[in-house]
Subunit: 188 residues, 2 copies
DNA sequence: GTCTATAGGTAGATAGAC
DNA sequence: GTCTATCTACCTATAGAC
């Protein structure tokens, strides 16, 4: 699908696939998947709509790619953060901080996973949901290790924490509390 | 805009304005404001797209009406629930239970407020946001009355609780925990 | 790798009949 | 109140030039 070498008469733009993903994430986030056109996304990276189809075979493919990348990024960041902490409490806090950092970073990938995944209708959605569920499970172990209640209780706590985090973009102000402060505030 | 009497040759449908609001709420919820057409909404109530414009002068007007009604409903329900409880703790719990009942009821109005309000671009959005902020404030008083921390702490708790509630439609299963159980679970 | 041109479909909205 | 018919605009996607 992608060629290794640019032809001589092509303009010297570095890999537009990534630029397109960034633009799509931004656009899908601000007005939903259905609310922004291929023309909008293309114009953000300085090309025409038809050219997107060199990298992505359809609009839905573009959405799936954004979501796949979004899950990959946040999973990677949070896993790393957890690995560097020693106690269950620190692991939970580290996971929350890096999760919030990614969600509130303004790159919009995570939000497209969060907000658009439940309503896309596509066979590949199943795999994405599995990947997101797997991501959500990262949080359950540190909570269980806190040993503060039954298994049901642990899941309730996880729903509480993850819901609050997933919702935070709605009220977050970049001149207010930092992700660290928000995470610590949630944990008392 | 609306007439009081139906003409004789009109079909005997009772006020379609409400039916249209219900259908719009459902559709805007499932595929976003941009993802569903006036034709889709019209067909849900058994009329043609052009006929919607007898009740609503534009698609955006229809969205605004859904959101206005959504805020009105949940404000009314939660205010009433709070008024029937006696202690701060009971008031907070009553507010959470009725908030969750409305959000998880399946009528979709609340979710259109929650999910679509941040991204519509319209002068009237300001008023809706004010109304929703006023609604959010309903929760702050019971939390403050609990006297468990500083004002900042109270707002952190509110963000935690409201975020978790607003997010609950994503994982709620109608054969699982009830809104009461979820609210009590969040409150420990 | 990006362009232009365009096919083929659907969108929101309006006008006028009934 | 709802219909049909229609306008204009925009959409996704493709084909072929460069």
């Amino acid at each position: 699908m992608m060629q290794k070498k640019a032809t001589l008469n092509a303009q010297p733009r570095s890999d537009n696939r990534l630029n397109l993903l960034d633009a799509a994430a931004r656009r899908f986030c601000s007005r939903s998947y259905y609310g922004k056109s291929m023309r909008d996304i293309a114009s953000d990276v300085g090309i025409k709509a038809g050219s997107i189809y060199y990298c992505f075979e359809s609009k839905k493919e573009l959405l799936i790619a954004v979501q796949k990348e979004g899950i990959r990024r946040i999973t990677s960041l949070v896993s790393t953060a957890i690995a560097t902490a020693n106690t269950p409490w620190d692991r939970l806090q580290a996971a929350m901080i890096s999760n919030l950092q990614e969600i509130l970073s303004g790159n919009d990938y995570a939000q497209v996973v969060i907000r658009e995944l439940p309503r896309i209708d596509d066979p590949r959605r199943r795999r994405l949901i599995d990947a997101r569920n797997k991501y959500d499970l990262i949080f359950i172990k540190p909570i269980k290790d806190l040993e503060i209640g039954s298994e049901i209780k642990c899941y309730q706590i996880r729903f509480l924490i993850m819901g609050a985090m997933n919702w935070s973009p709605m009220w977050f102000k970049s001149d207010g509390q930092s992700p660290e402060e928000i995470a610590k505030g949630f944990l008392n």
